[in-house]
């Protein structure tokens, strides 16, 4: 028994190994910078060190304990980043690191010497880290994170910086695996929610807690995830496609690690879902189907890499089916065969890579008689192929025997065991046949290539080690036995797995093995006859073609969806919100219950006068085609409303409205000058009718909303407060102005900032050159004596009135804004009289006014902070020479300047372009 302290130390080892993997990845650029492609050796040592550290915990695991460590990750959800290593994890971790080390050691000789391959090394090492994390994760969320990380990194590895032939397969692989990943995420969500924890170990420890509904869903989703990742039918198409990757990458990803993630997942979740017939039968059925389909497809390949890829599909299918059996023996068989497959498949990939490099081809038909030139390579290939074919004495043989034995015991349905075993034999037969073709391809025939040599030992060594292990571990399988048994019970705590042995005696499984060899030999022998049959098998999954078609359809659909956002005219963009408003009003009208009564005195006879005038004006406005009429009628609307505001007790509003109308007219004039005075045609009849319809609906909605939601209550508490207190609180008599300057100064500040921004916009737009170019002569003649006189006489009056309105604003009609508008009209008049720049007022510039105004308002607003009061609190400020001045007054002055800045900027900048028929001197026409 390990003490807690020891376990803690052991837990740290997990963190160290996993973290070390990522550190290695971070260090890889440095390593490749130093050693170039040879950095792989250093990395391999790193991998092996990690493996060694993990193996050092073997005693703990064999003592039926697990090594764990955890940090809080999302504490509020009870999610911990928890690592946990039991025997099952250890075996997978060792495969990851061990095969990883050999691939790393293989890379330096495989990769070209002329570049550093930093990205390959970094990504591979990160990928190994992700896989390691996946098998060590003891939290669903963490497991999922590593699962998807491995998908992303494999995408990067397959994609190889976007070589043309790699793009499609990489994207395909990522799409398929992340689709599965999303399914896994949903499973994680479902499991976490229904079990109240995301702790994998806790969830697996008590499978009974899971309710049936979620169990079905989660189980199906987990299978889906595993099937996509392990390239099972019908998602098998992405794996052969991914063979465009570098051979070492293929060796690692598609033999030992990535695809095994699915296997690991199924094994892990066996404890939760295993023993339920839907789970079991799905796995068995799907697995065997994949095994046969994969093997058939492998059999018809000529490219060795493609052959190996389909072979992987097939072998993984076999594994999946065995996991579905769900006995201790079957679990042990699955684990053993996982090890076996990793060893021989990695070997084969590496050897194919060597052959490809040396012989310049990996097409069976092009290779011939290699054994004379490269005896060691060929020997190793044969050994690995024997393992693949399940021939003694290899570990492949032991594994396959165990699989047959396990499948026979299936008993959910009578005879199912034998049917399953029969199908497995069929798959194994096909496997034997393509293994034979592989061997035959490299062995037979004359040596065609002239300059064919055995590769350097350093190139061969990694493959050799793996090949020897794959062979030697067959007889020595007992060495693996304790760990495999432990792992089997970790996967599914349901009793002791049988002791693994090389020789089982004369069992049915042995008979099946013999049968396999016999049938396989026949199949190989009559390969000329079977070839046409094989060639007729479609290579692709039903998805391959459809996937692209679906993607295209999606893009087309997307283009349709995006179309409304390409229209140029603003009208459609405005119609939808308006319709939404109308719809809201309609729904409200239907659902809103009785309302309080409207105040009877809310309408006076004079109002109808205003309404009638308004109606006439608006009718003219919507029908006219004269720009001037439209502008003038809009001005008339403003004046009519000003009367209404007067009649309803809002003189400040009326005054402001009047000034704004005048200034707006001036600005419109500046903006439209020199343009034809016609509005564009109102458009097609359908559009007009639709416009009228929407306009009427909106009008009705607005009327209804106003009628229903206003005028049904008495004075608001805020309003009452102002009427009662505002005057004494501020010393001002004009309540509206006190609200603007004191109580809601922040609004006023905001509004002034808006104007300031518009001024900045106007100033920012104009190109000075343009402004200057057209000025001088357009203008010298244009000084009109009458306007000039008006300017001289009236501008001072306007400015004086502005000053009066500003200073008395707190008490009576007026205030900073109104005053500034009046000053603005003086500026406007100045511009009309002297387009080149009026004396005095023509010197005003927007930018300085703006800056000073903004600063003044801000400083006045912040002054109270100095005496511990809140922002924008009116306080008395000392002013040398005058005594004191209210900060509110300074604030209002700031607002005044900003408003004036806008008018100045508008007048100066809107007119900076060449105008059309500018008012010039009239010349007499000689008659």
């Amino acid at each position: 028994m390990a003490t807690p302290a020891r376990l803690l130390r052991a837990g740290m080892i997990l963190a160290v190994v996993l973290g070390g993997q990522f550190l290695l990845a971070a260090a890889a650029p440095v390593l490749t910078w130093w050693w170039g492609r040879n950095a792989g050796y250093v990395l391999a040592v790193g991998y092996l060190t990690g493996a060694g550290l993990l193996i050092s915990q073997r005693p703990v695991l064999l003592a039926d304990q697990a090594v764990t460590i955890s940090w809080p990750w999302l504490p509020s959800l009870g999610v911990y980043a928890e690592l946990r290593m039991d025997a099952l994890s250890l075996i997978f971790a060792l495969l990851v690191l061990g095969v990883g080390a050999s691939v790393m050691a293989y890379c330096p000789r495989y990769l070209s010497p002329d570049s550093r391959h930093t990205r390959v090394y970094v990504t591979m090492t990160l990928f190994a880290g992700a896989m390691l994390g996946l098998v060590l994760a003891d939290d669903l969320l963490l497991l999922f994170a590593f699962w998807e990380l491995s998908s992303i990194l494999s995408f990067v590895l397959i994609g190889q910086d976007g070589r043309p032939q790699a793009r499609g397969p990489a994207i395909q692989a990522l799409v398929v695996t992340t689709t599965g990943g999303v399914a896994l995420l949903v499973a994680v969500v479902v499991l976490t929610a229904s079990l109240g924890t995301s702790d994998l170990h806790l969830i697996l420890a008590d499978p009974g807690r899971l309710a049936t509904g979620p169990a079905w869903a989660a189980g199906a989703l987990v299978i889906f995830a595993a099937v996509t990742k392990s390239a099972q039918v019908p998602f098998h198409f992405w794996l052969p496609g991914a063979m465009v990757a570098l051979t070492p990458v293929s060796a690692y990803l598609h033999a030992a690690t990535l695809v095994k993630a699915g296997i690991y997942l199924l094994m892990r979740f066996s404890a939760l879902f295993g023993g339920q017939w839907p789970w079991d039968l799905t796995l068995i059925g799907l697995g065997l189907l994949t095994a046969i389909v994969g093997a058939l497809l492998a059999l018809r390949q000529h490219d060795l890499k493609a052959l190996l890829a389909y072979s992987t599909v097939s072998q993984l299918g076999l594994l999946v089916s065995v996991i579905g059996v769900g006995t201790p023996a079957s679990d042990a068989a699955a684990i053993l065969y996982t090890i076996a497959h990793a060893l021989f498949k990695a070997t084969l990939f590496m050897l194919v890579g060597i052959i490809d490099r040396q012989a310049g081809s990996r097409d069976i038909r092009a290779l011939s008689g290699l054994w004379r030139a490269m005896p060691i390579t060929v020997t190793l290939t044969v050994l690995a192929a024997m393992s693949l074919a399940g021939l003694p004495p290899t570990i492949g043989f032991v594994g396959k025997e165990a699989i047959f034995e396990a499948l026979v015991t299936v008993d959910e349905v009578p005879w199912l065991g034998w049917i399953a075993a029969g199908l497995a034999v069929l798959a194994a037969t096909l496997t034997f046949a393509y293994a034979a073709r592989l061997v035959h391809g490299v062995l037979s025939g004359p040596t065609r290539q002239r300059e064919l040599y055995e590769p350097a030992w350093s190139f061969l060594a990694p493959a050799a080690v793996a090949a020897v292990l794959a062979t030697a571990l067959g007889p020595a399988v007992a060495f693996l036995s304790p760990m495999v048994e432990r792992a089997a019970s970790d996967a599914r705590p349901q009793g002791q797995a049988p002791y693994l042995a090389f020789w089982h005696g004369f069992t049915p499984a042995l008979g099946l093995s013999v049968l396999t060899v016999l049938l396989g030999t026949l199949l190989f022998w009559y390969r000329r006859r079977t070839d046409p049959v094989l060639a007729a098998i479609p290579t692709t999954s039903p998805f391959t073609g459809h996937l692209e078609r679906w993607r295209r359809a999606l893009v087309r659909l997307g283009a349709v969806v995006a179309r409304p956002a390409q229209v140029t005219a603003p009208a459609p963009y405005l119609a939808r919100p308006l319709l939404a408003v109308v719809a809201l009003a309609a729904v409200a009208a239907l659902l809103l219950g009785p309302l309080p009564a409207r105040h009877p005195d809310a309408t006076r006879p004079g109002d109808w006068l205003v309404f009638g005038l308004l109606l006439v004006t608006l009718a003219g406005l919507v029908t006219t085609r004269s720009a001037l009429a439209a502008v003038a009628l809009t001005g008339a609307v403003g004046l009519i409303l000003a009367i209404w505001f007067l009649a309803t007790g809002a003189p400040d509003v009326a005054l402001t409205l009047m000034l704004v109308e005048v200034l707006t007219t001036v600005v419109v004039m500046l903006a439209l000058r020199g343009r034809p005075g016609r509005l564009v045609a109102p458009g097609r009849r359908v559009g007009i009718i639709a416009g009228i319809g929407l306009a009427v609906l909106a009008g009705v909605a607005a009327t209804a909303a106003t009628a229903a939601l206003t005028g049904r209550r008495d004075l608001s508490p805020v309003g009452a407060w102002y009427l009662r207190e505002a005057s004494s609180a501020t010393g001002g008599q004009n309540l509206v102005n006190t609200i603007l300057v004191d109580f809601r100064a922040l609004d006023t500040f905001g509004e002034a900032v808006v104007l300031a921004v518009v001024a900045v916009g106007l100033i920012g737009f104009a190109r000075p050159a343009e402004a200057v170019r057209h000025r001088p002569d357009a203008v010298r003649h244009a000084v009109d004596p009458v306007l000039e006189l008006a300017y001289r006489v009236l501008a001072p009056v306007m400015l004086a009135a502005s000053a009066v309105l500003f200073l008395r604003g707190h008490q009576e009609l007026g205030g900073g804004f109104i005053a500034a508008l009046l000053a603005g009209t003086a500026v406007g008049l100045g511009h009309l009289a002297h387009p080149a720049g009026a004396p005095l007022l023509g010197r005003l510039r927007g930018a300085p006014l703006l800056t000073v105004g903004l600063l003044l308002a801000l400083v006045a607003g912040m002054a109270p902070l100095a005496v511990g009061r809140a922002f924008l609190t009116p306080v008395k400020l000392p002013l040398p020479g005058v005594g004191s001045v209210s900060s509110a007054l300074l604030f209002d002055l700031g607002v005044y300047l900003m408003v004036l800045a806008l008018v100045v900027a508008a007048v100066r900048r809107l007119d900076s372009a060449p105008a059309g028929p500018a008012p010039g001197p009239v010349r007499e026409r000689d008659r």
């Binding site: 999302l74 969500v189 919100p577 109580f743 905001g750 900032v753 921004v757 920012g764 737009f765 609190t873």
Partner: protein, 488 residues
Amino acid sequence: MSVLLIVPLVGPLLAAAVLLALPGRLVLRRVVALLATAAVIAVGVVLLLATCDGEVPVLRVGDWPPVVAITLAADPLSALLVTVSATVVLACLVAAAGTGDDRRQAFLPLTMVLSAGAYGAYLTTDLFNLFVLVEVMLVPSYVLLALSGGPGRAGAGRVYVATSLLGSTILLAGVGLLYGVTGTVGLADLAGMAREVPAAAVAGGVVLLAFALKGALVPLHDWLPRAYPVASPVVVALFSGLLTKVGLYAIIRIYAVLYGGDPAYHPLLVAVALASMVIGVLGAIGVGSMRKVLAFHMVSQIGYVLLGLALFTAASLAAAIFYLAQYVLVKAALFLCAAVVRATRGTDRLSRLGGLASSNPLLALAFGVAALSLAGLPPFGGFLAKFLVLRAANEVGDWFVLMVAVLVSLVTLLSMLKIWGIAFWGEVPRAARERTARPGLALLGPPLALGGCALLLGPLGGPLLQVADAAAAGLLEPAGYVRAVSGR
């Protein structure tokens, strides 16, 4: 603490004033803008720490009594959004120095005013003041769009200004109607009103509709992909981090406070959320420039956030807030990547791009991280966000929602892969071979840093989730906030 509340509003405005007074000195101007924004970030963090401890700092502008004062207040949600938005602004300022956007005199002051409006909108509790601050934010955006836009900016600007303006008009009408029904525009005084007074619910509906338009929710979304892609990428990044977010924030706040999360509206909200998610992502896959793709994605991502609001549980609100925070950063990173692309290649049309991964690995890294985060893949922040949304959907047992969310994330990945496959992997176009410029640190730094944030938010998402939890608790039970604001 309370006095800090004015810093996000006044600081940038002061900076804007100083910037207007300092024409010419570019370096000095940049420093001023950066300092102001950094100060806001600092204040945001301080507010965040304080509010997560349950404090609600309150500032009554002008020291007036609560019944009339415009009151600024911070809770974890506002503080978080201030911090995140200011971070985006900071990144955009740096990137603008890289692209040269800030060489235009108006750029920095306008950016400052725009950000001040957004921060103010997060902090104010007065609906009319909210309207004003939204205008303070939007008007600079009109100018920025027109200043920075490429060809076609006039048409796009017209659409943008027109829709914004219509939104503002509707908003103001809604605020007026609320005042007509209730006699107040203070959020605290309005708390729960919509559940008690049906007429208030209608008036509030008008306000929400306005913000739905500003937040670009389907079916009121199409102005955004029409207008945004015309602006320079840095400006779009700025917009994406602030403008629609304010709309979204207002919807969240008003629905939580005024409506008290009334479940009667959940189906409608869910429908809008799902429609936004789906339409947005489909649009993204159907268009052909980086900025357009990203603009459509904004619509889609906004849908995710709204989904969290629609479900209105502690988990879903936390998910929405987490999602919002991470996606603001990620989206800004992506737009800034587009800025790099445009600065180096002169275009971001996919049909004229290719080979960026090999010519600019750091850019590829930044884009890859952000894109994967956007698609909700681990180990990035987007993954946790998606997980939280799915978890919330599962919690209320809505499998349809769950499935849609999942499928949308897959299509998101597809559209990101589309950009990746064409722009980063494809052949380098002949035109680009001569004129590819090397991006400087100012240009590459911001997207890398934001991408780094996206990366860190995965493994280190715990604290953000804590903030989101605190914010969600505040929305679910706004009594504390209301009490502090109303002073009762």
